[in-house]
Amino acid sequence: MLRTWRQRITIADVVVWIIGLSIAFVVVYGSIKTIEVGKYNTRVWIDLTITGLALGGVYALIALGYTIVYGVLKMINFAHSEIFMSGPFTAVFLALALYKNGFWNSHPYISLLLVTLLAVTVSSTLAVLLERIAYRPLRTAPRLVPLITAIGASFFLQYAFRGFFGSGLQAYPELGFLKGTWTFGSIPVYKTQVVVIISALIMMLILYGFVQLTKMGKAMRAVSEDKEVAGLMGIDVDRIIMLTFALGGASAGLGGILYILLFPVVHFFMGFIPGLKAFTAAVLGGIGNVPGAFLGAMILGILEAVGPSLFLDGMGIAAPYQLKDAIAFIILVFILIIRPSGILGERITQTKA
C-alpha cells in the first residue's frame, strides 16, 4: 500500500506541488496584506477590474483566432499576431483620410463601420492568403514545420508592414461619441471599455454558435476530428480550413479595431505582445475551445490589471507594475499545474472520447 503510494508520487510531482503551494501562499498572503493596509478603496478595485476586462476583451478576440485554427488543424498560427496588426494598421489610413475631409466628425458611426469593415476584410484576407501560400503546401509535413513557417511568416509580415508604412507611430483620430463615461449604478465606466467588453462577448457567442449550431460548424468539427474521414464523408476539407482562417482573421481584425478604441496608436510591432498574451490566454482556457479562449483571456486581463496591486502592494514591494507579466505568467503556470489541459480543456477530450 505504502509502496504503491510512493511509486505514484515522483520527486518532480513534489517539486511542482511545492511551487504551486508557495505561489498560492504568496497570492493569499499578499492579498490579505493589501486589503489590511487599505491603500485602495473599492472604487479603485472596480476600475482596475474593468480595465482588466477590457484588456481581456481584446486578448479574447485574438485568442479566438489561435484557438479555432488550433482546433481544426492542431497547428499554432504564430503569424496571427501580425494578422491582428494588419487590420488596424491598414485602416488607419482610411480613418485619417476620412478625418481630413471632415466625414469622420460629421458621420462618426458610418466612419467607424467603414474602418471596421476594412480592418476585418484586410485581416481575414491576409489570413486566408497566408494559409494558401504558407501552410497548405506543408499540411502533410511534420507538425514542427508549419510552426517554424508561421514564425517566419510573422517576421515577414511585420517587416513588410514596416517597409510599406514606415516604423513611426500612426494615431487614430478620436471618436466623439465614444468619449466620456456611462454610469452603471453609481460607477462611471468609460464607453470604450463597455463597447470592447460587450463586442468581445458577442463575437465569442457568434463564433461558438457558428461552430456548434450551423452545418459549416459541424463540418469544421468533423475536420477537426479527422481530416481524412471528413474528406471521405464529402466535406471539402480545403474549403473548411480556409473558412477557419477567414473566421480567425476576421475576429483578429475586429479585435484590432477594439484595440485602437482603447489605445488609438498603431505601430508595425503592435501585434507582438498582445499576440503572445492571447496565445497564452488560449492555452490557459484550453486551446481548441472557443469559450475557453474567452475565459482565459478575461482571467489573464484581470490578473494583469489587478494582480500587481493586489498581490504585491501589501508586501511593500516597490513598483509592482513592472512585474505584471511575471505575475500573470506565474499564475498561469499555477493553473496549468492543477489543470494541464487548461481550464475548459478537459471537457473537449471527454466529449471526444
Binding site: G168, L169, E174, P188, F263, H267, I273, P308, A319, Q322
Partner: protein
C-alpha cells in the same frame, strides 16, 4: 623533403617580418601613441561614425542628431585635405542594440571617432566596446549621470558628451514643479531604461529636498500599451503631478490614458527631453494639451543657431528639426574635427596620422569652445555641456511646444 619545406616557410616568415618592420620606416612618421594611430592614405576619407537610433519608434531622436552631424561635416568641407566620411549603425535605443552596433563599429579600425549613442541604455554596453577600440566617443544625447561620474565603472576613457547631465535636468524638473506648478505631491514612472530611471530618481530626490512628497515611484515595460492599471493604482495617492521621463511610444500612450483615469483627470503631466517630438503630438492626440516637457533651452543657443543652422537644416532635410539634440551633435562634430586638426600629423605626400590618445587628450582639453549650445569646456570625466534647461508646454495639434519656464 619536409625539412626543406620547413626551411622555405621559415625563410618566408622571416622575410615577411623584415618587410613589415621596414614598412613604417619607409614613411617619415613613427607612431608613438599609447593606443595607436589611424593612418589615412592620400585621397582616402577620414572615417567618422555614428551609433544612434535611426529606426523604430524613437528614430526621430537619432535621425535628428545625425542631421546635426551631417550639417557640421558639410559646413567644414575638407578636413586637412581629406574628405570626411560618415557611416553608422543603429543603437536601437536599447542595451541589445548597443551591443550589436558597438561590436560592429569596434571592429572597424579606420574609425577615428564615434558620435553616439542616442540612448544611455545603449551607451552602457556600447561605450566599453568603443572605448577599448581606441575611439573618441562623443554623445549628443546620453544624459544618464553615471556615464561621466568620476570613478564609476560606467565612466570610460575617451567618452565625452555635449548633452546635459541628468542630475541637472531632473533637478530642473523638480524646481519647475515646485516654483511654477506649485505642487506638493508627485508620482514618477520610469520604463526601466537607464535614462528614465536616473531622471526619475533625481527628480524624486530634489523634489523631496524642496519639501514635496513623492506618492509613488512606478516602473513600466515600454513595449506595453496598457498603462491604465498602473495609472489607476497611482490615483489613490493623490499626486498633483506625474513625472514620466520616458520615450515617445509609451510616453504618448501614458499621456492619453492618464486623462481617462479616474482621479487623475486634473493631474499635471510632465515628461523630459525624450518626449520632445512631433510623434508625441500625433500619438497622444488631444490629450497632449497641457503636457510639460523639460528640454535644453533653445532660446539660450547662440545667434548662429537661428541664422545659419536652422535654415541649413531646412535646406538639407526639408523640415524643422524633429527632435532636440541636433545642435549638441553639431557642436560635438566640430569639437572632434577641431581636435583632429590639432593633433594630426601630415606627411609630405598627404598621408595623415591621427594618434588616438593624443586625440582623446585634445578632446578633454577643449576649453571655451564657441558652440551653438553655449560656450563649452570639457571636464576630466567628459562632461562638456553648458546646460540651460527649460520647460515647454504642448498644445493640441501644435508642434513645437511653447516655452513656459523659466
Amino acid at each position: 623533403m619536409s625539412k626543406r619545406l620547413l626551411f622555405v616557410f621559415a625563410a618566408l616568415i622571416i622575410a615577411t617580418m623584415v618587410l613589415s618592420a621596414c614598412g613604417p620606416k619607409a614613411s617619415t612618421y613613427e607612431c608613438t601613441d599609447a593606443i595607436g594611430c589611424v593612418t589615412v592614405a592620400p585621397g582616402d576619407p577620414i572615417h567618422l561614425a555614428y551609433d544612434m537610433v535611426i529606426n523604430g519608434p524613437d528614430a526621430t531622436l537619432g535621425i535628428d542628431s545625425r542631421n546635426g552631424v551631417e550639417i557640421a561635416i558639410a559646413e567644414k568641407g575638407q578636413l586637412l585635405g581629406h574628405d570626411v566620411q560618415l557611416t553608422g549603425e543603429d543603437d536601437g535605443c536599447s542595451a541589445e542594440g548597443g551591443q550589436a552596433s558597438g561590436t560592429k563599429l569596434a571592429a572597424d579600425t579606420t574609425i577615428v571617432a564615434v558620435f553616439g549613442t542616442s540612448c544611455s541604455s545603449a551607451a552602457r554596453v556600447a561605450v566599453p566596446l568603443l572605448s577599448q577600440a581606441g575611439f573618441v566617443i562623443i554623445s549628443a544625447s546620453n544624459t544618464a549621470p553615471d556615464l561621466t561620474k568620476a570613478g564609476d565603472p560606467n565612466n570610460w576613457p575617451g567618452y565625452l558628451r555635449t548633452a546635459h547631465n541628468d542630475t541637472i535636468q531632473g533637478a530642473a524638473a523638480a524646481q519647475f514643479a515646485v516654483d511654477f506648478l506649485k505642487v506638493t505631491k508627485a508620482a514618477t514612472i520610469h520604463d526601466g531604461s537607464l535614462y528614465a530611471e536616473s531622471l526619475a530618481n533625481q527628480f524624486a530626490k530634489v523634489f523631496q529636498e524642496l519639501g514635496g512628497t513623492i506618492t509613488a515611484q512606478e516602473a513600466v515595460d515600454p513595449n506595453q500599451t496598457d498603462f491604465k492599471s498602473v495609472l489607476t493604482s497611482l490615483a489613490p495617492g493623490g499626486p498633483e503631478l506625474i513625472y514620466y521621463p520616458i520615450f515617445v511610444k509609451a510616453g504618448s500612450l501614458i499621456t492619453r490614458q492618464a486623462k481617462e483615469t479616474t482621479g487623475l483627470e486634473n493631474t499635471s503631466l510632465m515628461g523630459a527631453d525624450g518626449m520632445f517630438s512631433p510623434d508625441v503630438t500625433a500619438g497622444a492626440g488631444d490629450a497632449v494639451e497641457g503636457l510639460f516637457v523639460s528640454s535644453p533651452d533653445t532660446s539660450s543657443f547662440s545667434q548662429k543657431y537661428n541664422d545659419y543652422f536652422l535654415p541649413k537644416y531646412q535646406e538639407l532635410f526639408g523640415s524643422e528639426p524633429v527632435s532636440i539634440f541636433h545642435a549638441h551633435a553639431y557642436d560635438a562634430t566640430w569639437m572632434v574635427m577641431n581636435a583632429i586638426e590639432a593633433v594630426a600629423v601630415k606627411d609630405a605626400d598627404g598621408t595623415l596620422h591621427i594618434p588616438r590618445q593624443a586625440l582623446r587628450d585634445a578632446m578633454y582639453a577643449t576649453k571655451d569652445f564657441q558652440g551653438l549650445t553655449g560656450v563649452l569646456t570639457c571636464g576630466p570625466t567628459g562632461d562638456c555641456a553648458n546646460p540651460k534647461i527649460a520647460v515647454y508646454e504642448y498644445h493640441a495639434g501644435e508642434y513645437p511646444p511653447i516655452k513656459v519656464w523659466p
